[in-house]
């Protein structure tokens, strides 16, 4: 397929396109490393990889403004990195070190960063949705122009919290962008076994929310859609729903035997992978070649190596600190 790659549109900013590629590559390589570190026991707990879905987060994050908030799930390494949490801090978190972005208390599923408005890392499916709605409510009441980006999988759409949150956001015309990462499976449950209506945009529209289907494997498409959504939300037009059609190349978590889908199905999708296809297009547009690739890979490898070293040499929080952060340290 790559051989048939379509060059990028003429009006594209080549440097930006390459940067999108680099960002996707960066989170891909980072997670490959995580998988390795998981196998060697350095990372524990649950680890959910975003591999295959990078075009979604990468496209979306381009429109996230400094004062916006991102509310994500347990499959959020990519988003965290894209949002600007340092790789050191993310890796250290997975190592459970004090230098981690959640001080080692959260782990893979609970990356947080107040500075960049990254408010979780929520591992209750659907649990982040009301939070995002509330953040948007605060933004609207304070008229501060912030948007809440609510990221979730298609599986979450069956939860009551989806329904309640969509209604509230629409009723109150709040600046939330609902980003559904439809990878067609919730653990082992295929979309058509979890939803009576699999046209997810129709579900969203039933709340009178503007909804778009987006090719989640195409980073230019995801970027453009997110921009439309952000513009609309910031203009005061209320919530926006984006269904990104994508695919998860790896197991749900590291405990998954993947009995619910064939190797072949996975392979088919891999051929349409965001790095592969976008890389080929960049090449077709002469924006990328082997040498540039190698440079990018080398830079990323270095960053990852440093992150691992940083995490390795991080400090385990002393057990005496266990009781901290149950309540705020400054009390009235």
């Amino acid at each position: 397929m790559n051989e048939m790659a379509v060059p990028l549109p003429d009006d594209i900013d080549g440097a930006h396109a390459l940067e999108l590629f680099r960002q996707m590559l960066r989170i891909r390589r980072f997670e490959e490393k995580c998988a390795q570190m998981y196998s060697s026991g350095k990372i524990r707990g649950f680890l959910h990889l975003y591999i295959g879905e990078e075009a979604v987060g990468t496209g979306v994050m381009q429109s996230v403004a400094p004062r916006d908030a991102v509310v994500a799930t347990y499959r959020e390494h990519g988003h965290a990195l894209l949002r600007g949490i340092s790789m050191n801090a993310v890796m250290a978190e997975m190592y459970g070190k004090q230098e981690g972005c959640s001080r080692g208390r959260g782990g893979s599923m609970h990356l947080f960063d107040k500075a960049t408005g990254f408010i979780g890392g929520n591992a209750i499916v659907g649990g982040g949705m009301p939070v995002a709605v509330g953040y948007a409510l605060a933004a609207k009441m304070q008229q501060n122009g912030a948007v809440a980006w609510c990221i979730f999988g298609e599986g979450a759409m069956a939860e009551g919290e989806f329904h309640e949150s969509m209604n509230l956001a629409a009723l109150w015309q709040l600046p939330v962008v609902f980003c559904c990462e439809n990878n067609y499976y919730a653990m082992g449950t295929a979309l058509d076994r979890s939803e009576s209506q699999i046209q997810l945009v129709e579900k969203a529209r039933s709340y009178r929310v503007v909804a778009e289907e987006v090719d989640g494997m195409d980073v230019l498409a995801t970027e453009a859609a997110a921009r439309r959504a952000a513009d609309s939300a910031r203009a005061g037009n209320g919530p926006y729903f984006l269904e990104f059609q994508t695919y998860r190349f790896r197991a749900h978590s590291m405990f998954d035997a993947e009995r619910y889908r064939s190797k072949n199905e996975v392979h088919e999708h891999e051929l349409q992978g965001p790095l592969r296809t976008f890389g080929a297009r960049l090449e077709a547009s002469s924006l990328l070649d082997e040498q540039r690739r190698a440079e990018l890979e080398a830079d990323i490898a270095r960053e990852i190596e440093n992150a691992v070293a940083f995490a390795e040499s991080g400090t385990p929080e002393p057990v005496s600190e266990l009781g901290r952060f149950v309540y705020s340290e400054v009390q009235p």
Binding site: G120, M129, P130, G134, A136, S165
Partner: protein, 335 residues
Amino acid sequence: MSTTIPAGMREMTYREAAREGLHEALTRDERVFLMGEDVGRYGGSYAVSLGFLEEFGPERIRDTPLSESAFVGAGIGAAIGGMRPIVEVMTVNFSLLAADQIINTAATYLHMSGGQINVPLVIRMATGGGLQLAAQHSHSLENLYAHVPGLKVLTPATVEDVRGMLATALADPDPVLIFEHILLYNRKGLLAADAGAVDIHRARIRRAGTQVSLITYGGSLWKCLEAAELLEQQGIDAEVLDLRTLRPLDDEAIMATVTRTRRVVIVDEGWRSGGISAEITARIHEQAFYELDVPVQRVCAAEVPIPYAKQLEDAALPQVADIVAAAGRLVKGND
């Protein structure tokens, strides 16, 4: 309560005091808003916010759809986003629909984020029985939340507390749950003209005594005070300790009263097994084992879903006579 009102005091109902507290909070801090089912046009299911919609407008007195999980969760998000939301859940029974947001999210974010994301959210709920509302509207489930680290659980019993605890809760950087017993709203009490925020970490002795301690909170406080009067007629001098806050518990105050009287009755409208009364008993057992003359007694709700019929509901809930009997047994040791 005397009919002449002391100088510098005002008499008002618990409802009015709750209302004043809310009013003051809304007036003083623009970030504060009230959100919940029927807090606006209806005036609040217990009429606490009657007229607020007109005064503060629909942005700040925000009627919500029936969706407890979303509007409680939206409170969390709004709190993180810089507001100071007060979320009203009509009764603690309905709060079970929002239990995920309260326990899995509000209570965990600060810790999971390594101290970064605090959630300054206040949730008010009605609780308790006594109006024959039966098994889906009458339970005292506050102890479910009192079990959860990361939450604070307040149970104002007096006009001063229902007014003042709200201010303190709003100043708190972390999630605070306030439980208002449904039978208190019409109860009158005296409030100092300059009443304001109150401490929420200390239990308070509402009646000093020497022979037996009645440890309680919320709606049951008044039953205990009534019981204490009856006990006095029997020559028994009871102390009444109002816990005020169920999490964190004021161990010091509890042990102090235990040490003074050496006999304890805990009165709690929650079910006995696994209720807050169990925790208090356990702490007394652990911390004041050698101070007790006799084992602690618990007067709690019977272990049944609260029934509708009056005589059954009465029998299911702790009554003054039960308290008097329990305290009497302890002091007189008749068994």
